[in-house]
Amino acid sequence: MAISDSIMENEVGLFKRKSDPLRFSDLADLKNQNIIVGTVAGYINPKELYDANIQTEQVSDDALNMLKLANGRIRLVLIDKRLGAYLAEKQKTLDQIEWLMTLEIIPLRIGIMKNSSGDWRKRLADFNAALLAMKRDGTLSAILARHGFR
């Protein structure tokens, strides 16, 4: 599979409730306080989280984690910052939560199967060229903004 240039970046980190007086110095401190972090089954989480051996509680999708956070069932949620904000807004709990920290930034790309019909190199090149053009003329930003990405 051939991978394109980055379209945008995912900022993966932790959300908390505004009312939660959580204080910690680093991930090891979270571990020491037995803080449970809500995660989604099947997702690859940041390596630091694994390294710190922090206790996690998995659900089937991110919306549930945001709901649990808003209802106090977990104190931290590991989620894409933009996705988290989107879901909280949808769940009308955006005013109750806040971004705590970013653990990882992940570029978003598309993949083209090399064994698919047609010329994958041309396709990849065309996509990258068009992407670059959209970034430059502000089209990409406008589209993202239209869909709530700031």
């Binding site: 509680e57 659900v59 089937s60 549930l64 709901l67 649990k68 209802n71 069932r73």
Partner: protein, 618 residues
């Protein structure tokens, strides 16, 4: 009789009907009880199972829902809640948690559907569980199980199995009926037919080819045995009836021919119901004429009244009455005199039913009695006259005999005395022949003295007034033994004296008789080896008989008639001394007491002398 036959014929059918009804009712009740028991048991079991399942479901679903509820995973929660309806007993399920309130009910088409308000569930079991996460409650689960679903299936099963059991029941009833009919009812019908048509004396009805089993086979054998016994009893009864007929004829013949009038009257009307031939001959009426009529129809009023009064007395007293003499006016013989006995005859309850009369015609007897009375009146006078004459003659004879004996003794003693003096004072003068003749005179004088003494004794025994008193015979015999036996003799003689009853008589004379007999026994045993004398007595027929038995010389029985005659002797003077008057005196004494004497004996074998005296309560 016809109705009875019909009833008898219906009996076997009734038993069959009863058996069929019994089988049907019994089997139906059995099935009903089994069905009810089965239903009740299964219902209880199913209810318990549903309750248990409900508990298990609550446990399982509460556990399954922990994380979905905790995670607000509505999709998962729905899936889990809807999966509860895989159990067909679950009627509804409800979850109440933060942000999550769901209720589902059973739906016949979709399996389940979500609802806001649960519909009423009639026969249900409700299970509640708290959903916890790490010990903290996060929601409540409620599961409603519907017993009706189980019961519907149970009812369906019951109907199914009930149908099968009903079919089996019909089959069972039919089989049992056939079995009962073959084993019991048919043989029973045959036995009933046999018993109904059986008559002693006629041929026994056949049993046919019907098979008999078990007790019915025994019953058949018993009935056959009973039939045999009945035949025997019937034959015996016939023989007894024939014998009874003969006996009745015999008895009738006896009654008819008894030489006394026998009649029977009924107790109610005193009408004649029986009269024998003697009665017919006596009264001059046949029984046919008298039958059903009473005394007033035939006899004079006064006689009839008397007869009826006596009849009523007899019936009222309930016992025999004796009428020694009653007069009756007969048709052909005029007036007769009867001796009648009347006896009441009672029925089985003891009430007088008949009156039996037995009348003896004593007319001739009464005539003879009258003649005898007349004759006796003259006869007694003649006897008294003769007796007076005889008594005078007897007195004169006794006086003469005593006088002769007494008067003879004086010259005899003179002869003997002077002969003794002659012998003593003139013995030197007399030669030997003179002495011998003089001794002969003395001896004969003594003998004559003895004879005269005997005659006097006999005379004394035969006259004089008897002075009766109670005599202790044991005492008299003891005194005589002492007197008659000296010390030496007592050693020689052996006396056996049995207990002797007392006698009633003149003690002097009875003692004299005993002395004579006892002295005879001692005298005639003197030359015998055995000197045993036995004295005893026994009582019979109003007399007490005393005996004296010895083992001495005895006597020839051919001459026993002479024993008790005066001066008759069966032994010579040289052999045994005596004048032959003792036994005559004994006979005279005993005869005067109204008794008798006799003797038994044989030469050299002893003799036994008996004398009997009338018994009297002494």
């Amino acid at each position: 009789m016809k109705k009875m036959n019909n009833r008898e014929k219906r009996n076997p059918a009734s038993i069959q009907t009863l058996v069929v009804m019994g089988l049907v009712i019994g089997a139906t009740m059995l099935i009903a009880v089994m069905g009810i028991t089965y239903y009740a048991y299964n219902r209880t079991t199913q209810e318990k199972k549903v309750a248990r399942d409900n508990e298990n479901l609550c446990d399982q679903f509460a556990a399954s829902l922990e994380y979905p509820v905790w995670n607000f995973d509505a999709t998962q929660v729905r899936i889990i809640l809807e999966s509860a309806f895989l159990d067909e007993s679950v009627a509804a399920i409800a979850l109440n948690a933060e942000q999550m309130r769901y209720s589902f009910v059973s739906d016949s088409e979709k399996g389940s559907r979500e609802t806001i308000i649960l519909p009423p569930i009639g026969n249900r079991i409700v299970g509640n569980r708290s959903i916890t996460h790490k010990g903290a409650p996060i929601g409540t689960l409620t599961i409603y199980s519907d017993i009706g679903v189980v019961l519907a299936k149970l009812n369906s099963d019951l109907f199914f199995f009930g149908s099968i059991i009903a079919a089996l029941d019909i089959f069972l009833i039919a089989s049992l009926f056939i079995l009962l009919r073959v084993i019991i009812l048919r043989p029973l019908g045959v036995l009933e037919q046999y018993a109904r048509s059986y008559e002693p004396g006629s041929a026994r009805p056949p049993f046919g080819k019907t098979k008999f089993f078990g007790e019915l086979a025994s019953l058949r054998a018993s009935i056959e045995k009973m039939a045999s016994l009945l035949e025997q009893r019937y034959a015996e009864l016939q023989r007894a009836a024939a014998t009874l007929g003969e006996n009745r004829k015999f008895l009738d013949d006896v009654v008819q021919n008894i030489p006394a009038m026998i009649f029977v009257k009924d107790a109610e009307n005193l009408a004649f119901v029986q009269l024998n031939k003697t009665g017919e001959a006596l009264l001059g009426y046949s029984f046919a004429e008298l039958a059903g009529k009473n005394d007033r129809d035939f006899f004079p009023a006064d006689q009839a009244d008397f007869f009826i009064r006596m009849d009523k007395n007899c019936l009222a007293e309930g016992k025999l009455i004796d009428i020694p003499e009653e007069r009756i006016f007969t048709k052909t013989q005029g007036e007769r005199i009867l001796h009648t006995r009347k006896i009441p005859l009672a029925d089985t309850e003891g009430k007088p039913k008949y009156l039996l009369g037995i009348s003896e015609d004593i007319t001739e007897k009464k005539d003879i009695e009258r003649q005898l009375r007349d004759l006796n009146a003259t006869l007694e006078q003649r006897v008294a006259e003769r007796t007076a004459v005889l008594e005078v003659l007897n007195k004169e004879l006794e006086t003469f005999s005593y006088s002769v004996s007494h008067d003879l003794r004086t010259p005899l003693r003179a002869i003997e005395g002077f002969s003794q003096l002659l012998s003593q004072e003139y013995s030197k003068v007399l030669d030997s022949e003179g002495k011998r003749r003089l001794n002969t005179i003395i001896a004969n004088a003594k003998k004559m003295e003895a004879l005269i003494a005997g005659l006097l004794a006999l005379s004394r025994a035969s006259k004089g007034e008897l002075k009766f008193s109670k005599i202790d015979m044991n005492k008299v015999v003891a005194e005589l033994c002492d007197e008659l036996l000296d010390e030496k003799s007592r050693e020689e003689y052996s006396l056996i004296v049995n207990d002797l009853p007392p006698a009633w008589g003149d003690s002097t004379l009875i003692r004299q008789a005993l002395e004579n007999l006892l002295s005879n026994a001692i005298k005639y045993s003197g030359k015998s080896q055995i000197k045993t004398i036995e004295i005893g007595a026994s009582s019979a027929q109003g007399f007490c008989t005393y005996y004296i038995k010895d083992h001495g010389a005895g006597f020839d029985p051919e001459y026993s008639g002479k024993l008790f005659k005066a001066f008759e002797r069966l032994h010579g003077q040289k052999e045994f001394e005596g004048v032959g008057i003792g036994l005559a005196i004994v006979k005279s004494i005993i005869a005067r007491h109204g008794g008798s004497v006799r003797a038994e004996g044989a030469p050299d074998q002893g003799a036994t002398f008996y004398f009997s005296l009338p018994l009297r309560s002494v």
